[in-house]
């Protein structure tokens, strides 16, 4: 029986698909396994202004998981603890990220530019398996020289949980992780660090479909993991949800695919124009110009006698 259509609509999109891919191992190689899980989470938006209200671009934004105690972001930064995310604001003083939905608790955000900095505690609470901002209101912090506003918007997305290890079976603890979104292969979507077991999780932005590219490396060894969220046989399945919104019944489908078969083939490649295309395009263009020239020539020839007779 359905009483809350919106909730049901959202939860019906909350399907559970488990995809496991494995990169083949090389000599002295790296093996990366991953799981994809659709989840309900939030998109966190951070907006940084100076005290005059002007957006601050290229402010360093460092995010720590709840493993860093509330208020300890400055200490964590000084102690060079591995942040979950390092990024910077755009020209509008804006940056966004999707926190790991598995890590409810108080996330720490450190913002720094020149001599000014600010630190924000972001309380993300878990309720019925969903993560949300504990406060209904956004968070606004004013510090020496900066005004930082943080808001969290509920979204449905896919969590990528990867596990990196050497082919000896040793975990790639503290391995560096760099994630590139499909529409920007040059600038990292986020960077982070694996935990002591070589695990790292992040949520993709479903508004940026295509091949997500993830580089994992440590101690001179590394590899790429490429996940195509368009063609990767991700099948969203409707999940029956009762009126109480009990999400326990979401354990529906488990699917396994090989990375080489399902993922690697879909990286975008800019081939440019082939010679045939260039010839065809050129011929078409030339014919267009010639045709235009002929048209105006005929038209001028046809109108000239009238002009002459006028004189």
């Amino acid at each position: 029986m359905i009483q809350r259509p919106i909730t049901v609509l959202m939860l019906s999109g909350l399907v559970l698909i488990l995809l496991i891919g494995v990169t083949p191992a090389a000599a002295h190689g790296v093996e990366i396994t991953y799981a994809l899980t659709p989840v309900q989470t939030v998109r966190v938006e951070v907006i940084v202004h100076d005290l005059a209200g002007e957006p601050v671009r290229k402010a360093d934004v460092t995010v720590f998981t709840p493993e860093v105690a509330p208020g300890d972001a400055p200490a964590a930064a000084e102690a060079e603890l591995s942040p979950w995310l390092e990024t910077s604001t755009d020209r509008n003083g804006w940056v966004s990220f999707v926190p790991d939905p598995a890590l409810a608790g108080s996330w720490q955000i450190a913002v720094a530019v020149d001599d000014a900095d600010a630190h924000i505690t972001l309380p993300l609470a878990e309720e019925s398996g969903l993560i949300r901002l504990a406060s209904d209101q956004g968070i606004s912090v004013m510090s020496s020289g900066l005004q930082v506003t943080v808001a969290a918007t509920p979204i449905t997305t896919i969590q990528v949980a990867l596990h990196a290890q050497f082919d000896t079976g040793e975990a790639m603890d503290e391995a560096q992780v760099v994630v590139y979104a499909p529409d920007n292969p040059q600038d990292p979507f986020l960077t982070g660090t694996c935990d002591a077991e070589g695990r790292y999780a992040f949520a993709v932005d479903l508004g940026r479909p295509g091949v997500w590219e993830i580089q994992v490396r440590k101690a001179g060894h590394g590899d790429w993991l490429k996940i195509d969220l368009d063609e990767n046989a991700i099948e969203f399945e409707e999940v029956p949800v009762d009126t109480a919104g009990d999400a326990d019944s979401t354990n529906t489908t488990v699917q396994t695919v090989r990375l080489a078969d399902e993922v690697a083939r879909s990286v975008e490649s800019d081939d440019g124009l082939s010679s045939g295309q260039i010839v065809l395009m050129s011929a078409t263009t030339i014919w267009g110009f010639v045709g235009t020239a002929l048209y105006f020539s005929r038209r001028r020839a046809a109108t000239r006698p009238e002009s002459e007779s006028d004189n």
Partner: protein, 276 residues
Amino acid sequence: MPRRFVTLVLIVLLLSSALIALAQAATGTLEFYANGEDFVRQGFVSKDGWAISFDHVYVNLTGITAYQSDPPYEPADEDAELVFDVEAILEGSYLVDLAEGDEDADPLLVGEVDAPEGFYNALSWEMVPVEDEESDMDGYTLLIIGTAEKDGEVIDFTLGIEQSYTYTCGEYVGDERKGILEADDYADLEMTFHFDHVFGDGELPPDDGLNETAPGFAPFAALAEDGVLVTDLAALEEQLSEDDWTLLVDILPTLGHVGEGHCHATLLDDVGETAE
């Protein structure tokens, strides 16, 4: 009117030529670098405690080619084929000294080519013997000249490698992303050589995977006479123990990398045919 028509047609042809030139100008410059890493530039301590410094590490490179592979080439997959839409070839052979410059030297620019824009996510090259009877490199693909020191014992060594290899690699793995070439711009790719694979790394535990598969320097030191060792693969096959020889020939194909990314190595025989 005919003259005016001819003028118009000429203008049209001029504009068309300009358009064609613009269409063909979607190229940039692709630079190829070789890098022996800090291990070669600064020296390092082998897994068995020998402090090694390098005077010269000559490597003879040819067939250097970048690819826009699709699907992205995955060298770790034994069944993977290199399928590409566009390739950019650096013609010629290049004898490079990876130890050139001081300890903070940048990777060495081997050469550059004009290439269509796009993402060059695969790279291959060959290491082949120099054919020059007047050169110390004659017959060698790789010549390592340096000094090793341990507990007051100093050994000047010269190791020659005659074996040819083809390295076929995927995308560069490292601090920055390489190979994305935009029109009228520059991009670079790097052939990286990991010499810690041969000698091991004293900063890593003995049971680290790298050290377990590295011969180290001790087997070579044992062959030195009066503090001097000049040898090559042909001699080492006779001189080394069976275990050390196996370690050496197994590890040499893993020298070539793209940053920290691994490559697929193929051994070539003297006439350039695939041997394995």
